[in-house]
Every structure is written in C-alpha cells, then in structure tokens.
Amino acid sequence: MIIGLDVGGTHTDAVLIGDGRILRQAKVPTDHANLFDCVWTGLDKVTADVPHGTIRRAVLSTTLTTNAIAEGKFAKTGVIVSAGPGIDPSNFRIGSHYHCISGSIDHRGREIQALREREVEELARKFRAEDIRQVAVISKFSIRNPEHELKMAKILRNSCDHVVLGHRISANLSFPRRIATAWLNAAVHPVHKLFFEAVGESLKKRGLEIPIFVLKADGGTMSFESSIDVPGQTILSGPAASVMGALPFASESGDTLVLDIGGTTTDMAVLVARVPLLEPLGGEIGGHKTLIRSLNTKSIALGGDSAVRVIDGELVIGPERHGPAMAYGGPFPTPTDALFVLGKALNGDVDASRRGLRPIADQLGAALEDAAGRILDLSCRMIIAAAGRMVEGINSKPVYTVKEMLSGYKVNPVEILALGGPAPFFAPRIEKLTGIQTSAVPQWHVANAIGAAMARNTSEVTLLADTERGVAIASEEDFTQKVGRDFSRNDAMSLAFELLREKCIKAGASESELDLEVVEDNQFNMVRGFYTAGRNIRIKVQTRPGLIPEYLELARSMFNHCLLPGAI
C-alpha cells in the first residue's frame, strides 16, 4: 500500500492506495501554525489499524518550507559569496549575514584570482560569535570549477552545523539564482530535518516503519534521506501534486491544460503528451528566483472562496479570501455561493448563499440567478485569460539554434483537466467559453494526494567536459574526472547515464521507475588559431516527471467508480 498526502492552502488531503484502489481518504483543515498536527491527523486517519509491514511508502507534499520562507521562520544563515569582476554581488544580498570575499573563476572554470582563506577564517569566527550554524557558500562559475567553494566549506565545517555548496544544488548557470537557492537550502535545513524526523518517529511509535518520500517542485519524489541536503527542492510541491494527479487522465498525444481550482488560488500547468513542462531555470518563491527544478505552473488569486464584490458597478472577484463560502458559514459571498444559488452545489446552507449574493445582485441590477451566473462566468473568464497568457509565454520562449527556430513547437491545448473542490461545476462553463473539451479529473477533490502517492523519482545530471582543460565535471554529483583529448561525446553520454542511474537509486527509485532521457546534447569544437584545440561537450540527462507503474490499475478503477461530473 502507498500513502499520499498533500498539504494545501485550505485543506490537507490524504489517501491510502492499494490493490489498484483508493482504500481510504481523509480531508482535514490545514493549520499553518501547527503543520505537524494536521499532517499527523491525515496520516493517522488513513493508517488506523493497518497491519504492520504492508505500507510500501508514504509520499508527503507539504507547505513546510514554503511557509518557513513566507513567514521568516528559518534559521539564521550566513552567506559567503566570491564573485570577481562583473555585476556587483552586493546586488544579490540575501538574509542578514551576507558577505562578499575575493576570489574569481572565469567561464571556462579557470582560476583568475585565488581565494584568500584568511577572509573565510575570519568569517567563520564571526559566524561562531553570532551563533550562526547554517552557512551557504557560492562562487561565480563554481559549476565549472568548485575548488573555491570546496575550500570555503572545508574551513567552515569546523565551526558550523551545515554548509550548503552552490555547485551542488544545480548545474544551471545563474550566479544570483545560485546565491538565493543556496541560502534557501541552508535556511530551511533545520526545520525540514526536524519535521520529517518527527513524522518518522511518530509513525514508528505506531509500529509503522514506512519509508518516507517527499514530493519535489518538479513533480518527482525523493527519499527523505536524500532530501536532507536539498530541502529547497520541496518548496512549491503543492502545484506539482495536482499536476501529477491529473497526469493519468491526460491526452497521450496532444497538449493538456491542467487547472487546480482551490479555495484561494487556481494553479495552472501545461502537459505535452502527458509530460509536464518544467521552468527553464527554476521556480520562484517569495520573490526569489531560484535554481529549484520546478514544474512550469502559474497561479492566480482566484478560487472557490475568493471574495466577490461590486466596485463602480463592476463585478470584482478576489484576490482576497475572507474565509469559506457563506454556504459553509463563511462571512463573505464567494463563487462557491454562486454555485449554490445556481443549484449546482449541494450540502450547504443555500439560504446563506442567497443572502450573501442578494446585495451583489441589487448593485448589478440583476436577478439573483443572473448575478450568480455572471459570477461563475467571470471566474471562468479570468482563469481562461490567465491560462492564455501562460501558453503565450511558453510559446514565446526564445530558442538558440536554427533547427529549433524552424521546427518551433507551439503549445496548443486540446483538452482541459480540472481538479479541486469546484472543478466539476466550473468545467462545463470553461468548456463552453473556450470550445475546448473540459472535464473534472476523477476524484477531483483528492486527486492531488493521489498525484503525490503515485509520483516517481525524478533526477537530473549535467556533465560538462572540456577536453582542452582535460576535465569532466558533474558539479551536482560532486564528480570531477580527468579526461584525455580523445574523450568523446559518446563517452560523456555513457558517463552521464551512469551517474544518473546511481543518483536515482540513491534517491529511492526502483529499477522499474527508471525512464532515462537526454535533455541536452551539445558539442562545440574549440578552435584556437586555425586548429581544433579541444571539444566542449555539454550533456544533460534526466528522468522526466511521471508516475510509478501502479498508477495504471488505479486510474482504471477511478474511471469506473467516480461520479460523472457533468451529471451534477
């Protein structure tokens, strides 16, 4: 059996899956002030009386690190940056303990200016005096030559609990993002570690020794053990859970737009033939652009609980949420109340909804049902407009080769999949407005937790070889190898695949999950004078986001047993 748990902004959903069926499901209100309790309550509900040794894994998608960043509840973190010439690194200041030191490496990884170890030692003393136990060290172009970061870490290890090295978190170029991401990983490290150790302990007390996996922002999973050094990767996993939940029902050949319509926000993503699109460099969290591998998702502040008002005769929905819908005892009219008035939603206080919408109808000079219809209509239009902007953004992304330019694939969704509470009620209207086939995902209200449960491991390896310098580097893997002048593109490719396989297994993937593919495969002849001085080989391989094989059976049973949303 497998557990999937997804902490959302409003609700925490948990499912227990086995025998190709959803055996149990639980929904508890999310309490951001006490995340552990709500995660534990969810786990408790789905594991009660389950026999020992029958649960294969638990995959958790939490808002823990996201909240820690948003609320400033992270550890005191020192940042040491070595930049050299270029944009002034003080522009990238992050946290309250940010220091720039000497040392410089160029774009090919050659040392231009040595690191002054004395400066690092001084900072180590300072950090100790200020009781700073978490430190991030970042040098420009460290992914081409990690030497300076390694030296800094060596000095700092004696005086700190935890040192994050910039070159380990991503092999993508972007010094400012590397700084932000390294800081983030260091800052949330203690809270991430404590939380998951506590979850593990509590399960153990119940006699359940379940391997714990965490969901990452790219829709993949990794074992808790391998997440300890890169807790930043779990940030923004919420939208990823929903996307993975929609995946089994998406078109295998065309493009799909996924809409997760929640209480406060609607998250959207695009799948191309069942493969979710990733952000080119990394996701953005709390205003920080990062190198955290993330699904390309956009979020708008519009959901079932968004506040509905009339301003200057115009209907306005969101962006704020004042609580649940009036039908559920909330204080303010919402799109969900409009659904009650229209007779679409049941099991709530319809009269409260009517009371709430009355003044809005009056201000609009419309009948109550008309006003409700207009609220639903506007909500759908706002979502559609945002989705349109997202697709346009994806299609206008620059490419750098003639071949890509001429073959330029354009995303063009042939279907829309909706999930989240209001999904089945919004779907028909969205279909009508767009002319694109729109349906609610089966079990739309817990599809996100199912997505977390069924997600497989994702890993990525980037290998750079510079045969003139005689070196091959996979910076994230802490891998450097001397190579001869005859080191070829094929050699690089098999080395990259070997490293990837190792990484996946280490992150808890089983052999059956390994679906390896090449993302980037470039070789440039380096010509100096009129002779080829070497080759610059750049290889990126990955396991793409996807689902573990068990999903097939589950998807079949979900299709057979769910209510057809159109019927409501």
């Binding site: 010439p85 270029g86 944009i87 002034d88 522009n91 990238f92 410089s104 160029d106 774009h107 090919r108 231009i112 420009k140 172009f141 993508n172 170029l173 972007s174 010094f175 400012p176 993002r177 205003g287 652009k289 206008s396 992304k397 620059p398 490419v399 750098y400 080769t401 003639v402 071949k403 330019m405 001429l406 470039n522 440039f524 002849n525 380096m526 010509v527 004078g529 009129f530 002779y531 080829t532 610059n536």
Partner: protein
C-alpha cells in the same frame, strides 16, 4: 533585486548549429562563452530587461534592400533570415514603445553586405541593419536614421547601401583601411552626389585605445549626430576593436565599449563582428547590455585587463585629432556640395570592382545616379561577376520624385534582356520588387 532604469530588450540568437566552416571564425562556438557569461551574471532575470524570440525575416524584407544574384534563396541560409529577423524584432519593439532600447545579439553579421549580393563578403551575406531600418521605415514611417558602426572593419556594405541617401547618416569608426580588410573607409569617401556628407568615415590608426575612441565620439560623432537630429540611432556593435581580437590590431576594452554605449545611447544596437570569443565577447556583451539598460558597468572587466599597458602613444592621439579635424570640415562642406550637384541635373557614374573574400568572387559594377533637385535620384547598377552572371538593377528611392520614378519604370521596360541574366526593379515608393530573366 536589480532593475533597469530604461526598459531594455534583448534578442539573443547564437545559432549554435550554424557555421561558415568548422574552423572559420564565424562558427558555432562564437557566442558560446558570451551565453555562459550572460546567463551566469543573471542578466535575463534583471527586472526591466526583456528577452524576445527573433522573428524570421522574409524574402520581401531582403528585396527592400538588396538585389540578390541570381536570387535571394541562392545567396542566404535560414540563419541569415533569423539574424536579420532578430534585428527587426528589436526595432519593432522599440518603435512599438514596448522597450526604450534594445540589443540584437545575433549572428551571422551583415555590415559588409552591399546593395548587390553575389555571395558572402567579410562573413556577411545580407545587411541585417539595413533590412531592419527599411522595414521600420516602411512599417512605422521612420525617416531620419543614423547608423554608427563601431566594428573594427569598415562597414563598407552599409556605406554602399546608404551612399546615395541623404536621410541616412552613416558613421563608421574603424581601423585604418591601409592596415585591415576591407581596405576602404577613408575620410574622402563621404557619400554620393546627392548625399555628400551623410557618409562619415573615421579611420583610426592601429593601437588606438579607449582614449582615442572616446575622443572621436565626443569630438566628431556626438556633435554630428546633434546636428543631423536622427529619429533613430542604430549602433552596428562590432566587438573586434578589442585588444585581444585575433584578426585586428586595436587596444579597445570591454569597459571602453560599455562607456561608448553609455554616451552614444543608441536606440538599437546590433552585433556585428568580434572574434575574440573567449577573452573579449563575454565581457563586452555584458558591458553593452548593462550600459544600454542604464545599470552600473564599472565592475565589468576582462581577467587580464591592464589599462596602463593598453594606453595609446602620443603619435596615435595626434593622428586621431587630425582625422577628426578633417571629418568636421567634410561635414561642414557636405550640404553645399550636395546642393551644387543637385542643381546640375546631370548623371554621375561610378565604376568599381568588388571582391567577395568569403566566397572568392570578383564583381564589376557600373553605377549611374541622376542628380535630382527633388529627390535622392534614380539609381541604376550594371553588375557582372566572374561567375558569369550579369544583371541590371534599378533602384527607385523611397522619396523619389515623379520624374525619377517614371524614368525607373521606363528603364526597366526598355532595357534589353538579351544583354543580362536578370533585370531587377526595386520601387521603394510602393515597396515593390520586380525581376525578369
């Protein structure tokens, strides 16, 4: 977080799969390290800096500028259309006011491509700046344009295209033609009979450094621009004046390029040459982008930058001062000579041989222009290459008078096709292009 003071656009098209030949300076690797530097510095994340996907230029865009022999598709590759399209994208965004300024960091380059194209010269096939400018004139009604070419090689292609156009000021600052390809670009080359003075050549001696370039900028280029009052300033931003460039002999620097960009304030910059791909381009390009965006570029320098070692000698400074004096005199006298010529109402001829170094072609050209008091004059070109192709081309300028226009069509109809492989007519008043063979 960094944000720009002026909203700045960037088209980056390194054409990682295109080369003239595997070891040619114009090869796949050329912008690889520039990309690395631009990405690592986080340039594309700067608030107010927008990256655009290049458009793909069309055959019509080429026909607005060039006469291609035997036709357009035979002298270009797709990469040329994307490179020109990238420049056009930046132009469009500036004119649509989505950005205040922009930089087309594209390859292959274009400033050696002349009006008639039999093949590639100086690594160029079609003139990407001219295609952009004529597109902008056609679409947005832009009139007066100044092009400042800061490539180390004389921009002879752009000079040729605008030789007869008094509404386009072409200024080229480059290494003295006696010491470098293409061997032209002397002060006395100052424009055709109807456009004397709107071509300005500033040849600098080898080993000119930051001091020399900025002297020329302050004392010649900026004052001339001030008087010309262009609607648009385009910078052909070649980067081979750099001290580390393998095929030139100048002592300019990344900081110098950024400083020049900051003072020139071009609306549009377009990459041209520059072949020190590892030691210069990454730093110059970052410097230019920051300067365009109004950001601090003082930290941009090459790992081996040593201003003391690069300082120019006093004889170099004296030489440059003389060139500037001479140019200011030509600029002053240009309008008078122009008016004299136009009153004469006669035709002027030019007989030239043009060498295409990249494709090893020799072209013979006989050009005839009407000195016209009402417009920039009807232009005809009789051209033959040693590949045995002979063509006759007629160019009716953008603001042609009725008489010149009619004469152009009459010539097109009456020229004996048996003497040529093709006859072309480019009517810029109606944006039409005709050919017959």
């Amino acid at each position: 977080m960094l944000s720009t003071t002026t909203r700045t656009g960037l088209v980056f098209f390194p054409a990682f799969d295109w080369a003239i030949s595997p070891t040619h300076p114009e090869r796949e690797e050329r912008l690889l390290y520039t990309q690395d530097q631009v990405f690592e510095e986080g340039i594309l994340d700067i608030d107010g800096l927008v990256e655009f996907k290049p458009d793909i230029a069309t055959i019509e865009d080429i026909q607005r500028v060039h006469f291609c022999v035997p036709d357009e598709t035979r002298v270009i590759t797709k990469s040329h259309l994307i490179s020109a399209g990238g420049a056009m994208t930046i132009g469009k965004q500036v004119l649509e006011k989505n950005i205040a300024r922009g930089f087309a960091l594209v390859r292959p380059p274009g400033h050696h491509a002349m009006r008639v194209v039999h093949g590639a010269r100086g690594f160029c096939n079609i003139n990407i700046e001219a295609m952009m400018i004529e597109y902008l004139r056609r679409t947005y009604g832009v009139d007066r344009v100044a092009i400042v070419d800061t490539d180390c090689h004389h921009g002879d292609g752009t000079q040729d295209i605008y030789w007869h156009d008094p509404d386009t000021l072409f200024i080229s600052v480059h290494q003295d033609g006696r010491t470098l390809y293409p061997g032209s670009g002397f002060p006395h080359e100052c424009g055709g009979p109807n456009a004397v003075g709107t071509t300005i050549n500033l040849p600098l001696p080898p080993r000119s450094s930051e001091e020399g370039f900025l002297y020329v900028l302050e004392n010649a280029i900026l004052p001339i621009l001030e008087e010309f009052k262009p609607d648009l300033i385009v910078n052909s931003a070649g980067q081979d004046n750099h001290y580390s460039d393998p095929i030139t002999n100048m002592n300019f620097s990344a900081h110098g390029y950024a400083e020049l960009t900051n003072r020139l304030k071009p609306d549009i910059a377009v990459l041209e040459g520059g072949y020190s791909i590892e030691s210069a381009l990454p730093y110059i390009n970052v410097g230019i982008i920051l300067a365009l965006a109004g950001l601090d570029y003082s930290g941009i320098r090459e790992p081996d930058y040593d201003p003391a070692r690069l300082r120019q000698g006093p004889e170099v400074s004296r030489h440059i001062e003389k060139v500037v004096e001479e140019i200011l005199e030509i600029w002053k006298q240009g309008p008078g000579i122009r008016e004299e010529n136009r009153k004469k109402r006669k035709t002027f001829q030019r007989d030239r041989r043009i060498f295409y170094d990249t494709d090893q072609i020799v072209e013979g050209q006989f050009e005839t222009i009407r000195a016209c008091p009402d417009c920039s004059g009807l232009l005809t070109i009789d051209s033959e290459s040693d590949l045995g192709r002979k063509i006759f081309a007629i160019h009716i300028p953008r603001k042609a008078c009725k008489e010149c226009k009619e004469a152009g069509y009459k010539t097109y109809d009456s020229t004996d096709l048996r003497r040529y492989n093709s006859i072309f007519l480019q009517d810029r008043t109606s944006d039409q292009y005709f050919s017959k063979k």
